[in-house]
């Protein structure tokens, strides 16, 4: 893994509701290397989407605020930038694609024009050069007959083609990092595989770093290099994909991997994690997972577990972690 050039430290998002202020993203920290794909995994409401919106300072409501956190790109803390300066982070440093490309594209503007608009704004190209670049980008994301399609409107595209167009649109500003917010959830499985392959190709061809938000561990296993597991707005566990999936230390991660079809013996019932994820106004004290945790000890309800290094590139927040199943290799210092 190359050195981290993108560091998120103690990113926090608050929401002001009628019942008071609640922390929905609580001191989330992770790093991302150049050309690395990080999977941000968690159930609905775990704060994964909100954390990524906060990275772009694009929170969907005025009730949400970012009281703290640093986001460093190449060592520069971009969160400290004034609004006008921060706009250069959006698009140019960090691009974003969304779960529902149908609603995130402008319905009354031609696809090529939307891409060209971004190219012209970020690179100051002429209209003609920007249009040519738009066709080029559509070719790169695998849209057939790109010249003709660039004159089409979003509703004339199929779901998969629309997501490709959305990716081309994000690439128009040449970002270093792409945040992909469940980009394949609304697509059928074959198209999903094509989009995942495309993202991998883009990583290989451009050295693009990708933060891939999903709740689908299968997709994570296929695509990502590292995984960051979120629960109740906090990071539970972060680490290399192979070791984390093969040897989950946090009971929640273990629960998630155990829930995968095929994880148990053939013919056995599919496992589930008992209980429901917490709601923002009723977050459990201590470790937020403790009411659903089979490993919970007394300390779990009282004390928030510290987020500690438990090995090379492996961090964990748990009072009573799952004992490593790979007994031949000590959990600490796992390579």
């Amino acid at each position: 893994m190359s050195g981290a050039f993108f560091e998120v430290e103690d990113l926090t998002v608050d929401v002001a509701t009628d019942t008071g202020r609640h922390v929905i993203v609580d001191r989330v920290s992770f790093t991302l290397g150049k050309g690395e794909i990080l999977g941000l995994v968690g159930e609905s409401g775990s704060g994964k989407t909100m954390a990524c919106r906060a990275l772009l300072k694009l929170l969907p409501s005025k009730r949400l605020s970012i009281p703290g956190g640093r986001v460093r790109i190449d060592g520069e803390d971009v969160m400290a930038l004034p609004d006008a300066g921060f706009r250069t982070v959006r698009g140019k440093r960090i691009g974003m694609i969304f779960q529902n490309p149908a609603s995130h594209l402008d319905p009354v503007m031609r696809i090529g024009e939307q891409i060209a608009e971004s190219v012209r704004f970020h690179h100051g190209s002429s209209r003609r050069a920007a249009e040519a670049r738009a066709v080029e980008l559509l070719t790169q994301v695998g849209i057939p007959d790109p010249k003709e399609r660039s004159r089409g409107f979003p509703h004339e595209f199929s779901g998969g083609m629309r997501q490709r167009a959305m990716i081309a649109l994000a690439l128009a500003s040449d970002p270093d990092i792409l945040i992909a917010d469940e980009p394949t959830t609304a697509l059928d499985v074959t198209v999903q595989a094509q989009i995942l392959r495309l993202l991998k190709e883009l990583r290989d061809a451009r050295g693009l770093s990708i933060i891939f938000i999903t709740h689908d561990l299968g997709v994570v296993a296929q695509l990502c290099d590292r995984i960051c597991v979120l629960y109740g707005g906090r990071v539970c566990e972060i680490g290399d994909k192979r070791t984390l999936l093969a040897d989950p230390r946090h009971p929640y991660t273990a629960g998630l991997t155990g829930c995968q079809p095929g994880a148990g013996a053939t013919g056995s019932r599919l496992k589930t994690i008992p209980g429901y994820p917490p709601t923002i106004d009723a977050m459990p004290s201590g470790c937020r997972f403790h009411p659903r945790c089979s490993n919970a000890v007394d300390a779990c309800a009282r004390l928030q577990p510290p987020f500690e290094d438990v090995g090379q590139d492996r961090r964990l927040a748990c009072h009573n972690p799952v004992v490593s199943e790979l007994t031949s290799v000590p959990a600490r210092g796992f390579a």
């Binding site: 772009l56 694009l58 969907p60 706009r87 250069t88 982070v89 959006r90 698009g91 140019k92 691009g95 974003m96 969304f98 529902n100 609603s103 995130h104 594209l105 402008d106 319905p107 009354v108 503007m109 608009e117 971004s118 704004f121 970020h122 409107f153 509703h155 004339e156 959305m166 649109l169 994000a170 128009a172 500003s173």
Partner: protein, 312 residues
Amino acid sequence: MHRYRFVFYRPLQLLPVLVGISIITFVLVHSIPGDPARILLGTRATPEALANIRAQFGLDEPIWVQYFDFVKNLFHGEMGRSILYKVDVIGLILGRLEPTLVLVFGSVILSLIITIPLATLAAGHRGGAIDHAVRMISTGGLGMPAFWLGIMLIILFSVKLGLFPVSGYGQSVADKLHHMVLPCLTIALSLSAVLTRSLRASLLAEMESDAAMAARARGLPEHIVFRRHVLPNSLIPTLNLLAVNIGWLISGTVVVESVFAIPGMGQLLIRAIFTRDYMVVQGVAMLFALASVLTNFLADILTVVLDPRVTL
């Protein structure tokens, strides 16, 4: 280009509508009590003179014969002769067309000039003092009848400030436009009251839309997001509302033309009604109906041009 196919067959569908309108106008106009021949010749006219006039204008025929004469004439590009002016109705109407057209188009343009900045201000300061002020102006605009508003504008801008003429219609182009400012403003104010409310609501929705958020995520500054993405999407429903209102606006010109003494179709219509000038009333009513039908047709075309998702 199949989206534009309706441009060819829609006019055919409009034909029955026009036939229906012509029958209704014809019957209604002829049910107005009063005898045009007597109005024309006065109370002391001889029965022979009255019969003569009736025969001359075909008023002694049964009503359905009169209707078919009317339709037959329409196909020859005629709408009969005015009883009062003794000239062809078509020529009479064409002579009065210009001020009314200027009034309608001027009001529409002026209402957009008023609506877009007001709605933008209100949406940009949602819940703030400006938003409330705009809402009060809109509600006020809705509540004020055109004849009263027109008179108030005359008192303020013409009598007190002397900026615009009190009434009438000028000779040169500049003079005409100068005369039309206050009449257009009268209509535009009440029209933009409706439009502002609609545009403000759609601006608020579009500013928070996924597409606008995605545009911001691409690093586009707020003014570009607004001008290129939020406004075009928001204007679609507002322009539709405007198109629907143009039909109402055309009949609204009658009142405004009377207040400002503009020699347009509205004034012609009113005088024709008072003198039972059947042919003129029919002609003007038919033209108003045709204009309403046509504007709705144009509105459909506009919708298809503006919104690529719409197929009619």
